[in-house]
Amino acid sequence: MQIDRIAEPWGTRTPYGPGEEWPTRVDTHLADGVAPEDVDRWVQSATILHSNGDGLDIAVQDGEIVGVRGRAEDRVNHGRLGPKDLFGWQANKSPDRLTKPLIRRNGELVETDWDTAMDAVAGRAKELLAEQGPSAISFYTTGQLFLEEYYTLGLIAHGGIGTNHVDGNTRLCTATAAAALKESFGSDGQPGSYTDIDHADVIALFGHNMAETQTVLWTRVLDRLAGPNPPQVICVDPRETPVARAATVHLAPRPGTNVMLMNALLHEVIANGWVDEEYVQAHAVGFAELQKRVADHPPELAAQVCDVPVEQIREAARIVGTAERLMSSVLQGFYQSHQATAAAVQVNNLHIIRGMLGKPGCGLLQMNGQPTAQNTRECGADGDLPAFRNWSNEEHVKDLAEVWNIDPMQIPHWSPPTHAMEMFRYAEEGSVRFMWVQATNPAVSMPELGRIREILAQERLFLVVQDIFLSETAQLADVVLPAATWGEKTGTFTNVDRTVHISDKAVEPPGEARPDLEIFIDFSRRMDLRDKDGQPLVKWDDPEGAFEGWKECTRGRPCDYTGLSYEKLRGGSGIQWPCNEEHPDGTEHIYVDGEFWSDPEYCESYGRDLVTGAPVSPVEYKALNPSGKAVLKAAEYLPPHEIVSQEFPFQLITGRTLYHFHTRTKTARAPQLQKAAPEVWVELSASDAADRGFTEGDLLEISTPRGRVEARLRISGIRPGVAFLPFHYGYWDEPSGHQPDGERGRAANELTMTDWDPASKQPIFKTAAARVERLEKSTGTPSAAPTTTASRPVSGDVPPTVGGPAASATEELTTVSGGTR
C-alpha cells in the first residue's frame, strides 16, 4: 500500500490489545524510479534522526544510497519508520557536503589537505598543553556519533590529554534524564522498555510530545489506542500536541511550574493511600521526607500556581494512582524547563511509591532526544567517567586507570566534569583556548546566540569543527574537518530502552571525508598519547577493535556489553544491555524485584542538591542509603528566574517539530521534510491573537532583552499567555550565513536566556519572558507551520500539510514469526 507519509506521519493503524504482540508493518521508501528488485544490497543499520533507535536496512544501488526499509524483525519498530527516516537519508548525497579539510588563512576558510589540517590541530593542542596545561583544552561533542567514537574520544580527552572539559550537546537535550536517574537509582540506565507500551493500562507523558519526537513509538501507542482495552493517556504539555488530543486528561500548566504540579500529584497519591507501602518499605529510602514535602503542595495550591483546573489535577492523580501497569516517559517539557531535575525526579518518585518498576507495563523512561545520546553518557563523552563509573569514588577511578593502563592521577576527577555551559563560560573569560566541536552546532542550538557567536568568534579561541556540512558553527572555525556520517562508516549505538544496534557501512564517504573514529585516532597518534608502558594509548584502529575495548571497560558495570559482538548484532534484532554471560540475550527489564544499582560502592553518583546543585558527599550518601535502595528525593517549588512583566508579557517556550531534527543540517536537505516545515513560525493562542487583533500569517516580532526574531503567526491550541518558537531554524541557508541579516533573526535561541538547572546543568529553553508585536499584517497567506502536529491551526482556512507523490512510501502488513524479543 502506498501512503503519503508527510500527510500521515504515523501511517496506517494496526490495532492490538494488552499483552498482545505489536503487529509488523514494513515501511519502505526508495528513490524515484528505483524498484525493490533494482537494489544491489540491503545494509543493516538503525535510525539516526531521533532517539527511537528503529532498525532499518539501507538500500544500495551502484554504490549509492537509494532508500531505506524498516527491519521487520527488530524489537523496537517491527518494520516501521518515521518520516525523517524515510526521507532524511537523501542529505547524505547533498552536493554541499564537506569533502576536503578547511583551514583559516588571512581570515578566510580555504581548502587544504588532511596533514596540514591535523598538524594545525595537534600543533595548537601541544602548544597550549606546554603553555597552560590541559585546562586550556576542551571538547564539545554530540549525541549523533557512534559508541566507538565516543569511547575513543573519552579515552583521548580524559586519559590522554587529562582535561576535565569534555561534554556533548546531550547537555542541552537529555542531561536531565541522566541526572534524574542518578538521583533516584544511583546510576544512569533506563528502567523501562518499549514493550511496556504493549502491557500498560495507563501511559503518562510528562512534557513529552512523543508523537513528534519519537513517531514510531507513538505509532505503537496509537495502535494500542485503536485496539481492545486501550490504555488511558495522561499528557502534561502547555501545547495542544497530538498526545494532548489523544489524552484522557491533558494538563497544560503554566511554564516553569512542573515541580508544583508533580508535588500536587504525589500529594494526592499519598493522601488517597495509593502508595505500595510494602514496596516502599523494602526498596526505598526518603519516604517520610517526601511525604512531608508534598503535604504543603495540595492540588488547590497547584491549581493556582500552575493555572490548571483542580479537578483535572485530581483526575490525573486518580488515574496514575490507581493504574495497575503505569508506563511513564519524560522529555524536554521537563528537562528544558525551570527546576528540570527536581521535576523529572518526581516522576521517578511516582513510580517508586507505586511500586511500578521492573515488571511488564510498569516502564519508566527518562527519554533521550538524540539517536546516540545514551552512548555519549555511557562512554564518558559527556564528561562522566565511562561505563557509569563514579568520579568521586577513588576505587572506580583506579579501576578505570587499570583498564586504560595509565596512572589514576592522569584521570581528572578532582571535581565534577565541566559541563558545556561552563566550558563556554571558560572560553568567554579566556581560560579555555582550544575547543573541538563535533557534529553539533552551538551557534544555533545554544541559548543566547548573540553571546555564543561572540565567544566562538574570538581570535584567542582556537576552534576546530568536525562536521558533514559547513554549519553556522563551522563558518566560525579555524579548522574544519570533513566527516563521514551514518551509512558511510560502521559502528554501534544504543537507544533509550538500552537496545544496541549495529550500523554498517553501506557506501563510501564523499571526497576526502573521514569517519570520526579515524580522525580521533589520527589526532591521538599525532599527539603521541601513550599509556604507562609507553604503548599507544588508543589500542585499536577500527570500529570493531574499539567496540571490543569498550566491552572490557563495561565488564561488571550496569551497562555491561560483554555478551555482545558485531557478529551477534548482525542479522537479527537490536539487543538490550546488560548483555553478558548471565544474560546472553540481553535484558528487557532492569530493577526487577526492587534491586537497584545504588549501593554506595557501585553507584555512578551520590547525587546532588536539587536546588543548589552541590554534590552530595560520599559520607552523606552512605548515611542516607547504606544498602542500595531507590532514593525518594523531595523538592520544593521555586518561582522561575525570569517572570513576565508589562514589558514582556508572554512566556516564551521553544521546541521541535516532527519534520526536522536539531538545526536542520540533514532534514532541510531532504526535500519532502523541508517542504513540510520550510520556515520558522510563532504560535499564540486564539485568545491572545484576538486580544491584539492578530490573524493567522501576520508577521510578528518576538523579542526578549537578549534579541529579536521575526516569524509568521500560527494560531494554535497553545495555552494562553505562552508563545512557542521552533528552534531548528538558523542561517546556513540564508544569505547571511551564520548570523541574522539585520536586526531580527530567525533562530529561537536569539531570545533564550543563559540559565541552567543546577543539578543536571541542562540549559533552560522554556522559561523566558517575551514581547510580541506585529510587523506586517498578513495578506491572507497563512504561516508555513505544519498542520499535522502541535502547530495544527485552530481556524479552518489553512491548507493541510501534504507531501504529494514525492512523499509516497510503501507499507506492507505482514506477520513475522519471532518478531519480538
Binding site: R425, S431, W756, P758
Partner: protein
Amino acid sequence: MKLGLAIEELHRSENHLAHALLAASDRHKTDHEVFHVARDIARWSQDHVQALAAIGADYGVELDADPADDPSLLAGLRQKAAEAVGRRPEPGMLMLADLRHIHREAAGVSLDWELLAQAAQGTKQKELLELTQRCHPETLRQMRWANGKLKASATQVLVS
C-alpha cells in the same frame, strides 16, 4: 533566659548572609550559576529573617520582618561592573573569595541555629525548636553550595 538575645543574633547573621549572597550574585552576573543560585538561596535566609522576627515577639525582642534590603542602585552597579570585566579571568579569584566568605558566614549562621536549637530543647520551647528544625537544614545547604561551587571552580581559576 537569653533566648531573645540568641534570636536577635541569628536575625542579624541571617540578614548578613542574605546580603552576602545577593552581593556575590550581582558581582558575578556573568557567572550565571552563581548569579541565579545565590539569589534562589538568599531567599531562604530572607525567609528565616521573617520567621525569626515573627517568633521574636514571643521572647521580648522586636525585630524587623523585612530583610535588610540591598539598595537596587548598588546592585545595578555591581552587575554592570561584572559585565564590564566578564571577558577577563581576574574575577575568578574574586569569586573564590566571595564563596569562601559565604561559606564562613553560613557556618556562623549554622552555629547560631545550633545554639538556638539547644536552648529551645533545654527550655522545651516546641514552636521555636520546630523553627530551628525547618531552617537549619537550609543553612547547611547554603554552606554546601558555597563549598561545592568553590571546589568545582578552584582548579580552573588557579591553574589557568
